[in-house]
């Protein structure tokens, strides 16, 4: 179950999208997400979907792999849809018992579903096609101006990249500890919420201890390899815009113009 979370996990394959500068991908993703909230009609979402599909195709990450990552947030999606469906006031469409579904409700629910799905897929493409190191490099570069106001940009970026590297390891570890406690007769499934929360203690305590031990080991290993913060560091993969990156920026701007112009026309 835990292994199903593919969100944020780099998918290794050679593609145009993989090769793009992380700054383009970060900027593009951000602009794409903003655009999703600007549409007034279905045409906007259609264009967004087309744009998204072409990026997916270019990324060469199997669609199935992406969808598997969605499973974990399906529940969240369903709740959002349900809330909108049942709780939006307006013209009644159907009434079953005390629950009324309105036309407005259906519309908002569908819009929300489309928006959220594309938002999640859109941002997961970024992480699927960019190594965390690359991603944090991009973030670091984009946030460099903040250094002037004493924001520790490099440190934050390094922390993020390490966190991402250890997520799969800690997930696997959680799985292992859970099984070990099950073998000692632990019960995570029955009882009320309070009892279940209490049942998590035998998992959480060892997990925290392990995380601290790993953090300690890692800090030592980093120091042993001469890590001393961002000053004086060179880059193995410095960020340099190539022609493809400029072209990608062009495409993003083009997408924004078309989708927003068409998406905001009132029919």
């Amino acid at each position: 179950m835990i292994r199903d979370i593919t969100l944020g996990q780099y998918y290794q394959v050679e593609s145009t999208i993989h090769r793009l500068d992380p700054r383009v991908k970060l900027g593009g993703t951000l602009l794409f997400i903003i655009s999703l909230f600007l549409f007034h009609n279905w045409l906007g979402y259609l264009i967004a979907a087309i744009g998204l599909c072409s990026v997916i195709a270019l990324s060469r990450v199997p669609f199935k792999f992406m969808v598997r990552g969605m499973k974990s947030i399906l529940f969240l999606l369903l709740i959002t849809v349900a809330f909108n469906l049942f709780l939006t006031p307006g013209t009644a469409l159907v009434t079953i018992w005390k629950i009324t579904i309105t036309i407005e409700g259906v519309k908002t629910a569908l819009t929300m579903a489309a928006r959220l799905t594309m938002l999640i897929i859109g941002s997961s493409i970024m992480t699927l096609t960019t190594t965390p190191n690359n991603l944090t490099d991009g973030l670091e570069r984009m946030m460099r101006p903040l250094k002037v106001v004493k924001v520790p940009v490099h440190e934050v970026a390094m922390m993020m990249s390490i966190a991402l590297r250890f997520i799969p390891i800690l997930l696997e570890e959680t799985d292992k500890i859970m099984k070990a406690q099950l073998a000692r007769g632990a019960d995570f499934e029955s009882g009320n919420i309070f009892r279940r929360a209490k049942a998590m203690v035998p998992i959480l305590v060892p997990l925290f201890i392990s995380a601290f031990r790993r953090a300690n080991d890692l800090a030592m290993a980093m120091e042993a390899r001469c890590y001393r913060g961002g000053d004086g560091r060179t880059k193995m993969k410095p960020l340099i815009y190539s022609r493809a990156d400029y072209m990608a920026w062009g495409c993003i701007v083009l997408y924004l113009v078309i989708s927003i112009v068409l998406g905001r026309i009132a029919f």
Partner: protein, 283 residues
Amino acid sequence: MQLILDHVDHVYEEGTQMARKALSDICLTIPKGQFVGIIGHTGSGKSTLIQHMNGLLKPTSGHIYFEGEDIAEKDYDRKKLRSKVGLVFQYPEHQLFEIDVFTDVCFGPKNLGLDKKEVQLRAFNALRKVGLPEDLYYQSPFDLSGGQKRRVAIAGVLAMEPEVLILDEPTAGLDPKGREEILRQIKSLQKETGMTILLVSHSMEDVAEYVDRIIVMNRGSILYDDVPRKVFQHYRELEEVGLAAPQVTYIMHALRERGLPVDADATTIREAADEICRAYGIA
């Protein structure tokens, strides 16, 4: 037979592109009181196999019977099975969580719903069986040495008083003396209590020294299942699948090739020394 595996298959993430067959057509019978070694390189299916035996994993197809009952039956009490078939994972000290050693060992029996007195009695017995000094019982488990932590974790499973004890590499990361101490303790447990023991190990020398029977796993199937001296006769085949025989096996075969009339089946130092002395006519 205490534990029977009948044509067991296991496929991870079945029905997806990532499906991997971890076990195929495993047939095994394990009688009460036997000391069984399970060997195989990383990824050969050893871990998957042992997790089936106490119901943590379910076979994709095939059946597992514990004392004559199919553990996949709907009304079968799997929680009870887990207390009857104790499983000690690799690096078990990583699951310790209580404030002191004694309370931690109580966790297992407490989960079985026993009364307080019985829980404490079992915890006490288990700690004594693993030979932990009594002055450590009320220390934090995190203040102990690696070898001591390992004992506490094993006691945590023993306290459920299982009939079968499965240990996944119980000696990993310990120093030579620590390895020997743990293995001796396990052997004496088996002798004294008649407990069935399954030991997963990477060390051929250890397996040869302690077990009655060896199961060799390779690519999710059983490659050999026999007494140690018979299994290690196949030392060339074992090498082909990334394993090896104990060093003495190689010595004995080398001596035989040089024309010394020794029986090359010796698997432990004592056996080898006896054989060589016999061949040289030393009493």
